[in-house]
C-alpha cells in the first residue's frame, strides 16, 4: 500500500482532485447528471488521444510537436475519403488512416534517428509539413463521416446485468477511449517493447547495455505516437462529422496534460493513466468555469495558473523529497 502510494501517489492525488471537482460540479449545478458526464467524455476524447500520443514519446525521452498537425491531417484525410462514400467504405477508411498515422509517426522517429537533429526541431519541421499536407487534402473544413462511426460516440453503452441508471453513466465515448487506448497500451506496457520505450527514456546507456535496440525503439515510440495521433484525428472527424485542416489547440494541451499527469519530461517515468486523468481534470475545470459563467477572459488566467501551480508543486515536493545532502 505504501509503495502504491509512493509510486502512484501523483496519479492518486490527481484522481482525488478529479473526484473533488465532480463534487464541486454537482454543487454548482445540482442537475449535473449522466448526460452531462457523457458530454465530458466526448470532449475528452480528442484531447486524450493527443495526450496519449505525447505521452509515449515523452516516456521515450523525446517530445512531439507535430501531434496536433498529425491529428489535423488524419482528420481531413478521413473526412474527405468518407465524403460521399458509402457507409461500408468507412470500414476501409479507418484502418487506412490509422496505418497512415503509424507510418508518418515512424517517419518522425526515423528522421530523428538518421539526421541526429534534436527531436524538438525535427517534429517542429514535420509540424509544418503535416499542416501543409492537411491543407492540400482539404483547403477548408469539410468532408463527412459515416453515420455508424458517428454513432460510436453518441449515447451510452448498454452493459449486460447492469441496471439502466448505471448504464447511463457509461457513455460510449468513454468506452471507445478506454478500448482504443488500453488495448494498445496495457499489452504494450507489459511487453518487452514497452519496457524498451521506458528504458531508453530512463537511461539510454543502460538500455543499450541491456541489449535494447535504441534506434528501433525510438522509431517505434514515434510510430505509436502517430497511431494515437491518427486516433485523435479520427475522433475529431467522428465527433464533428467533418475534417478541419487547421490544427486545434491540442499540442500545448497535450504537453501540459503530460506534465500534469506525472510524466517526467526527461523520460522514463510515468504512465498513461495520469495524463488521461489530467485531461479529465482540465476539461472538468473548463466545464465548471462555464457553469459558473466566469468572465471568459479570466479563464485563461485560471487555466495557466493551475498548470504552473501544479507543476511547481510537483517540483517542490520532489526537491523536498530528495535525500539530505543530495545535490539537485
Amino acid at each position: 500500500m505504501t509503495r502504491f502510494l509512493r509510486r502512484q501517489g501523483w496519479v492518486a492525488g490527481l484522481f482525488a482532485l478529479l473526484v473533488f471537482l465532480f463534487v464541486i460540479t454537482k454543487l454548482i449545478q445540482p442537475g449535473y447528471g449522466s448526460g452531462d458526464f457523457g458530454s465530458l467524455a466526448r470532449a475528452v476524447l480528442p484531447y486524450a488521444f493527443a495526450v496519449a500520443a505525447q505521452t509515449v514519446v515523452v516516456i521515450a525521452g523525446g517530445i512531439d510537436l507535430s501531434v496536433a498537425a498529425m491529428m489535423a491531417l488524419t482528420s481531413v484525410t478521413a473526412a474527405s475519403m468518407m465524403n460521399g462514400a458509402s457507409e461500408e467504405y468507412a470500414f476501409f477508411v479507418v484502418p487506412f488512416v490509422l496505418a497512415m498515422g503509424l507510418v508518418l509517426g515512424a517517419l518522425n522517429g526515423f528522421l530523428i534517428v538518421i539526421t541526429r537533429v534534436p527531436d524538438i526541431v525535427v517534429t517542429l519541421a514535420t509540424l509544418f509539413v503535416l499542416q501543409g499536407a492537411a491543407l492540400l487534402v482539404l483547403d477548408a473544413p469539410g468532408g463527412a463521416a459515416a453515420e455508424w462511426l458517428k454513432a460510436t460516440v453518441v449515447g451510452t453503452m448498454p452493459i449486460p446485468y447492469l441496471p439502466d441508471w448505471a448504464d447511463a453513466w457509461v457513455p460510449k465515448a468513454l468506452v471507445l477511449l478506454v478500448v482504443c487506448l488500453f488495448i494498445v497500451w496495457i499489452p504494450l506496457r507489459r511487453s518487452r517493447l514497452g519496457l524498451s520505450i521506458y528504458a531508453i527514456g530512463s537511461n539510454e546507456l543502460a538500455a543499450f547495455r541491456s541489449g535494447v535496440p535504441v534506434a528501433r525503439t525510438r522509431i517505434v515510440a514515434y510510430a505509436l505516437s502517430g497511431l494515437f495521433g491518427a486516433l485523435g484525428g479520427l475522433s475529431l472527424t467522428i465527433s464533428t462529422g467533418i475534417g478541419a485542416p487547421i490544427p486545434g489547440p491540442y499540442l500545448l494541451a497535450s504537453v501540459a496534460a503530460v506534465v500534469l499527469g506525472g510524466v517526467a519530461l526527461g523520460g522514463g517515468k510515468g504512465g498513461l493513466l495520469g495524463p488521461i486523468i489530467a485531461v479529465f481534470v482540465l476539461r472538468l475545470v473548463r466545464t465548471d468555469l462555464t457553469l459558473l459563467a466566469i468572465d471568459p477572459n479570466v479563464t485563461a488566467i485560471i487555466e495557466g495558473a493551475i498548470m504552473v501551480a501544479v507543476v511547481m508543486f510537483g517540483a517542490f515536493i520532489t526537491i523536498r523529497g530528495r535525500p539530505a545532502g543530495a545535490t539537485p
Binding site: T115, R116, V129, G132, D295, M312
Partner: protein, 328 residues
C-alpha cells in the same frame, strides 16, 4: 567526446574545408542565405533591390531580437515561449496607455509585465526547477489572460501608436530602416554580453556543464533568474518596436513570431541542449527565415505546398548545418 583533432595530419581538401567551416560556423550560414537570395532573384528578377533589403531588415529585426532571447535561454538548455505574449503585452499596453499618459510613464507601464513575467519564469526554472518549456508556456497563458481582462478596461479609450515608435518601426534614414538604431546597439550588447562579460560566460558554462559551473562556485538560480528577466525585457522592447512596424495593436500581435524565433536560433547553430551557439548565427538565421518567407510568398504554390516546403527546408538546413559543424 575526446577528438583526435590535436593530431596534426595532412587532410584532403574536402576535410580541410569542412574543418574550416566547422571552426567558423557563420560562413556556411551566410552562404546559405546568399543562395536563398539568389534563388529569389532568379524567380523574380529585379526583386533584390535597396527597398527590398530595407523591408527584409525591418521584418527580420523583431524576429532577430526575439531569437536573441531564445539564443540566450537555449544556451543554458532552456527555452522561452513567453516572449510572444510579453511582446504583445508591452505593445498593447503602450498603444493604449499612451492615449492618456506621458510617454515615459507609458513606457514604464509597458515594460512592467515583462519584468514580472521574466521574474516568475526565472524563479520557476531556477529555484523550483520547473521545465522551462512548461514554465514559460504557463506564464504566457496567464499573461494572455491578463491582457484580455486589461483589454476590456481600455476599449473605451482607444489606441494610438506614438510617433517615436512609428518612426522607429517604419521610418527610413538614408535608405536604412530606423529600427537599426535600436537593433544595432541591442545586437552589439547581446554579442558583447555573450562573449565579453562574466554573465555571458556563465550562460555557456551552465548550459554546457551545470555541474562544472557549480563546482566553480556558480549559483544556478541566480544566473537563470537574471537570464529570464533579461529575456523578457528584450521581448518587451521588441513588442514596442513591433507595434511601431505593424501599427495595429491586437491581442495576438507577436504570437506568430514565437516558433520562428526558436527556429531562427536553431538554424543559427545554437544548440537546443545548451552550451553551444552565438548571436551572430541567430541573426543570419532570422534573415534566412525572413527571406524564406518572402520566397514562399512569391512562389505560385498552394498554401499547403508552401508549408510543406518550409518544413523540409528547416529540417534540411538544420541537418546540413549539424553535419558541417560536427567535425569528426
Amino acid at each position: 567526446m575526446t577528438n583526435s583533432a590535436t593530431l596534426p595530419q595532412p587532410a584532403p581538401f574536402g576535410r580541410r574545408l569542412k574543418r574550416f567551416m566547422a571552426d567558423r560556423p557563420i560562413i556556411p550560414l551566410i552562404i546559405l542565405l546568399v543562395i536563398l537570395v539568389m534563388i529569389l532573384q532568379i524567380l523574380r528578377p529585379g526583386i533584390v533591390n535597396e527597398r527590398w533589403i530595407a523591408n527584409t531588415a525591418k521584418f527580420a529585426i523583431p524576429l532577430a531580437i526575439l531569437a536573441g532571447c531564445q539564443t540566450m535561454t537555449m544556451l543554458t538548455g532552456g527555452i522561452d515561449l513567453s516572449v510572444g505574449t510579453v511582446a504583445t503585452m508591452s505593445a498593447f499596453i503602450m498603444a493604449t496607455q499612451i492615449v492618456n499618459q506621458d510617454p515615459a510613464v507609458a513606457c514604464v507601464l509597458a515594460m512592467l509585465p515583462a519584468l514580472l513575467i521574466g521574474l516568475v519564469n526565472g524563479i520557476g526554472v531556477g529555484v523550483f526547477r520547473v521545465h522551462p518549456l512548461i514554465m514559460t508556456l504557463g506564464t504566457s497563458l496567464i499573461g494572455t489572460g491578463f491582457l484580455q481582462v486589461y483589454q476590456r478596461t481600455v476599449i473605451a479609450s482607444g489606441a494610438r501608436i506614438p510617433d517615436f515608435l512609428n518612426w522607429l518601426g517604419t521610418g527610413l534614414t538614408y535608405g536604412f530602416p530606423n529600427a537599426l538604431f535600436l537593433f544595432v546597439p541591442v545586437a552589439v550588447l547581446i554579442v558583447f554580453t555573450l562573449n565579453r562579460t562574466g554573465f555571458g560566460r556563465l550562460l555557456y558554462a551552465v548550459g554546457d556543464n551545470e555541474h562544472a559551473a557549480r563546482l566553480s562556485g556558480v549559483r544556478y538560480w541566480q544566473v537563470v533568474t537574471a537570464l529570464y528577466v533579461i529575456s523578457s525585457l528584450l521581448a518587451g522592447i521588441t513588442g514596442l518596436l513591433y507595434i511601431g512596424l505593424i501599427k495595429a495593436p491586437s491581442l495576438s500581435l507577436a504570437e506568430p513570431l514565437v516558433l520562428p524565433s526558436v527556429a531562427a536560433a536553431v538554424i543559427g547553430g545554437t544548440s537546443i541542449f545548451g552550451g553551444r551557439g552565438g548571436y551572430m548565427g541567430t541573426i543570419i538565421g532570422a534573415l534566412i527565415l525572413t527571406v524564406l518567407t518572402t520566397l514562399l510568398t512569391i512562389l505560385h504554390m498552394p498554401e499547403g505546398g508552401r508549408r510543406i516546403l518550409f518544413g523540409f527546408i528547416v529540417l534540411f538546413v538544420t541537418a546540413a548545418y549539424l553535419r558541417i559543424i560536427e567535425d569528426r
